[in-house]
Amino acid sequence: MSELYERLREAIVDERPVALATVIEGHNAGAKLVVEPDGDIIGTLGHAELDRIVSRDAVGELAAGRTGVRHYGAEGQARETDVSVFIESFSPPPIMLVFGAVDFTAALARAGKLLGFNVIVADARSVFATVKRFPMADRVMVAWPDEVFDAYGDRLGPHDAVCILTHDPKFDVPAVQRAVATDVGYIGVMGSRRTHATRLERLHEVGVDQKGIDRLMAPIGLDIGSRTPEETAVSVCAEIIANRTGHAAPSLRDSEGPIHRPPAEG
């Protein structure tokens, strides 16, 4: 096996970010460069200056999680089109932190896996937070929110999600406090509208500001009339997608009335 493929494969399997640049048109079609986030390269596109420019661009594309074609002169010149290079970014899977080892958790963990998340389930109660109950999760932690955020908080970004399903202020207040201090793209909090109203008071008391409150999707999920844990998991995952893409979808947060109102007749 060749070194290029092996290095690419190892990075992907180890869940390390890596980019693959391939000349698809022009001189040396098929030539490849494997680029790591620190700019280390393996392989060559056939010209040292082209390698230097493409690897620099690949580091940027990788950081942004973008995949696409860029054009260069034969020696890497900008605004020339002698060579077309396909730069493919391989990012590690996004993280989904799920707080609360309840029935909804198992369904959400399954749906999260379907979407390609690295799913971590956490609950401070060792009786409930077991691998046996959540075999689909990548990791089950018997831990308080602080410990979970100490481990994962720095790694959370726009593509990651925090889902707080405990609806117990002992857990969800500290979980929200720590979640809004990260760059995580989605924070969903489960509970009725009444539960959320009292939760908001507690959050204000512990000093979570309005900017933090505005990031919360609570009650969690889209307003699609879901009832079962599985249906709720679909509504939460759909909200995560809509939130990331910025597309309009009816969130429960933005509607009024009972979450589980009976279906319309007819």
Partner: protein, 104 residues
Amino acid sequence: MKEILSDLDAWRAEGRQVALARVVNVEGSGPRDPGAAMAVSDNGDVIGSVSGGCVEGAVVVEALDILESGERRMVSFGYSDDEAFAVGLTCGGTIHLFIEPLDW
């Protein structure tokens, strides 16, 4: 390519000749984004996909041809009314694929 990696490993371990097709560009409406990949082995087995099933059959033909000739190239599929394309995407977009032997 991530999705087909373990199957690719198995094929390589068996010493099979493999062609790799990757979506590099999509114009207009297309079912899969750049980076979507499928692979075809020398005995015609297929893993992965590059569209919603519209052009996979034609990609297999191209891939086997490329395995035989060893010449990597760009292949495009567009709206099927265009005579330049034997098969097309029903959604009306155009996808550009880079197909090559997995010899690296």
